[in-house]
């Protein structure tokens, strides 16, 4: 009880109450803008959190995350241009509804389904994160090593159509993370006499470079897209009866979202497509799906938003980010000298509870922001990229510089932007690169600590059931990924699992 009271005292400040709402609003705008992605938005918001308290800063990023997941649906429904990859499933029924003059109904259902799924996902986070963290207290270096290997395998496998490209991307990230002084001996690695590399490359310029710059560089090679929002009749909104009609699909989709979200690497898009196909399979009128069925919109949005709270479960309980956004949030923890994981639950429980309170509040803000501002945000979303991208670039420059007050970080960001652009052209996923870069030092540290404990004996990585389980899971996921790749080669269509990251 004392802990909850203490958590309230940490959480209840006007800054916290305000930033959650601001975060959701920013996220909704960013999610709605085609060409801006939620990870980009969270990365750009990160430098503005440096001077905030840890709880306030992290709540701002979480607000952007949740708003971004929902925002993608607005333009998906109104102009058939999904703001995020996950929202491409919402297009299937949302846009036909819009064409029939029922845009307002589709937007309302998308909002209600998103908020319901978000709430269910948040409650699962609160229920399961603590349990998982107390279990993870039994983890030593070998268990953490095998867990990270398992997580990276899935992230590399599901982030793009080719497992080999995913693994290569992760290897580049792991190698980049070795730049700096050696963890054990303090000797130099890949510094080549440049003192600026001694502390390694900072995570934020790497992140901004990889996620924001490639889109901007790619824009130079494209024609301007015509269009934008036409003035159209949005029709009437959804009723309680409409909401109750889609509630079953919403809850089912939320559960899919929670399960897939808790597994590192899967993300919102596969959850949305799985939820949609299940809703169609269980519907009395499956033929209406794809032609403007509100249940399709609800199922897609529930699957998409159901992942938001659940992706925080492995991050908070184990310190393992499951996707790029949670990797950025991990970066925000590290900036404030904190490391999520079982130890944080032991030592700083009031802070965790304060975060839970803010996360629950974000569901309410999502409803408010979505309800009040659908018209406004859908207009902001039509700001052309020719104006938007130069602005984004300058935000990137200020953000990268502000990390260490160092112009070298701007150069790192530019170089990583070129790397990211190369990866974009080669169809290589960047998520494994970044997550491997963040987890690299932790992975190597646990690897070497394990061998130090065992005096070089490799069998320590199989020392108990936990390690063996993670190895089995790694092999199993490799088997499933390779099999789905072979099937994809036969049918010529990418597996639904490989659309995330």
């Amino acid at each position: 009880m004392d802990i909850i009271l203490e958590a309230f005292s940490v959480f209840l400040s006007w800054q916290n109450l305000l930033v959650v709402g601001i975060g959701v609003a920013i996220g909704t705008v960013i999610g709605a803008i085609p060409g801006m992605t939620t990870p980009m938005g969270v990365a750009l918001a990160l430098p503005f959190t440096f001077t905030m308290s840890p709880v306030t800063g992290i709540l701002l990023l979480l607000g952007v995350y949740k708003g971004g997941l929902y925002g993608g649906s607005i333009t998906a429904i109104l102009i058939k241009t999904p703001g995020t990859p996950a929202a491409s499933c919402t297009v299937l029924d949302g846009y036909p509804l819009s064409q029939k003059g029922d845009a307002r109904k589709a937007l309302d259902i998308a909002l209600y389904a998103s908020c319901t799924a978000d709430l269910i996902s948040n409650l699962s986070l609160i229920l399961f994160a603590g349990v998982l963290a107390s279990f993870a207290l039994r983890f030593g270096p070998p268990e953490f090593f095998t867990l990270i290997v398992f997580s990276l395998t899935i992230i590399a496998g599901v982030s793009g159509p080719s497992l080999a490209k995913g693994i290569l991307s992760a290897c580049f990230g792991l190698m980049l993370a070795t730049i700096g002084l050696d963890l054990v001996y303090g000797t130099e690695r890949f510094i080549f006499g440049d003192y600026r590399l001694m502390a390694g490359l900072n995570f934020i310029p790497v992140l901004i470079g990889l996620f924001a710059l490639p889109e901007i560089i790619d824009r130079a090679a494209r024609r301007a897209r015509p269009g934008g929002l036409r003035s159209q009749n949005l029709g009437i909104g959804a009723t309680l009866a409409d909401y109750l009609k889609v509630l079953k699909s919403t809850i089912r989709g939320s559960i899919f979202g929670v399960i897939l979200g808790a597994i590192p690497g899967i993300g919102g898009a596969p959850a949305a497509f799985l939820s949609y196909s299940e809703a169609r399979r269980n519907s009395k009128n499956p033929e209406k799906f794809g032609k403007g069925e509100i249940e399709g919109v609800a199922a897609a949005e529930a699957g998409n938003n159901g992942v938001a709270g659940a992706t925080m479960i492995p991050l908070l309980a184990l310190g393992i980010p499951g996707d790029v956004i949670t990797a950025v949030i991990l970066g925000a923890f590290m900036i404030h000298g904190l490391r999520p994981g079982p130890i944080l639950f032991e030592q700083n429980l009031p802070m965790i509870y304060a975060l839970f309170m803010g996360i629950l509040l974000s569901s309410a803000y999502l409803l408010l922001v979505g309800k009040v501002a659908i018209h406004f945000f859908s207009r902001v979303a039509t700001v052309p990229n020719r104006i938007l991208y130069p602005i984004v670039f300058v935000l990137c420059v200020y953000g990268a510089y502000a990390v260490n007050n160092n112009l070298f970080d701007v150069l790192v960001m530019l170089v990583m932007g070129l790397v990211g652009y190369g990866m974009l052209r080669l169809d290589m996923p960047v998520a494994p690169f970044l997550i491997a870069y963040v987890l690299g030092p932790l992975l190597e540290d646990n690897f070497r600590q394990s061998l130090l404990i065992a005096d070089g004996d490799n069998t320590i990585f199989f020392r108990n059931a936990i390690c063996i389980t993670f190895w089995i899971l790694t092999c199993l996921s490799l088997f499933v990924l390779i099999r789905s790749r072979i099937q994809a080669a036969r049918t010529g269509k990418a597996s639904v699992l490989t659309t995330g990251g």
Partner: protein, 168 residues
């Protein structure tokens, strides 16, 4: 052989070369190894080597994958959409080169011009380059945004933004 397959084949060969170069040259040259190490796996170069061997295996796997398996393709609609907005190859490449050169020139000018003035010039040029024609809007945004960001970082976040020759 379609263009995606040719691209992946070239990429696999380039990656293989890079990672072999890593094992044979960059790791021995770039990683300082202390004289006496009891357990080989604790040596500072063991982990980079392990990662590089993994990457070599993945490059070989990519090579095999490209040669033996069909590429999963984009939806027809997506492919059409992508093709519609792609400029012809040469102008597109030139425009990318111009943009990248401008971005690095921007970085080089940061120490003399400072972040704010360099950003004003860059936003102005970049918006025109990307095709915006409303000059008043371009001028307004390119001045207002860097100044507002400067004020935020300088006075709210207490981050000193370098102003170069405009420092005083």
């Amino acid at each position: 052989m379609n263009s995606d397959r040719r691209r992946d084949l070239a990429a696999a060969l380039v990656f293989l070369t890079i990672w072999l170069g890593m094992v044979l040259y960059l790791i021995p040259q770039g990683v300082a190894v202390p004289g006496s190490i009891k357990v080989a796996a604790l040596s500072p170069d063991f982990w980079p080597r392990l990662v590089a061997y993994g990457a070599i295996a993945a490059s070989v796997f990519l090579l095999v994958e490209t040669l033996t398996m069909q590429q999963p393709h984009l939806d027809e609609e997506e492919a059409e959409d992508a093709a519609q907005y792609q400029l012809a190859t040469l102008p597109a490449t030139l425009r990318i080169l111009v943009l990248v050169a401008a971005l690095f020139a921007f970085y080089a000018s940061l120490t003399t011009l400072g972040v704010v003035a360099a950003s004003v010039v860059l936003i102005f040029a970049m918006m025109l380059f990307f095709g915006e024609r409303k000059l008043w809007l371009v001028a307004l945004l390119s001045v207002a945004l860097p100044v507002l960001l400067y004020l935020f970082f300088r006075y709210v976040a207490s981050v000193p933004i370098p102003l170069g020759i405009f420092e005083n």
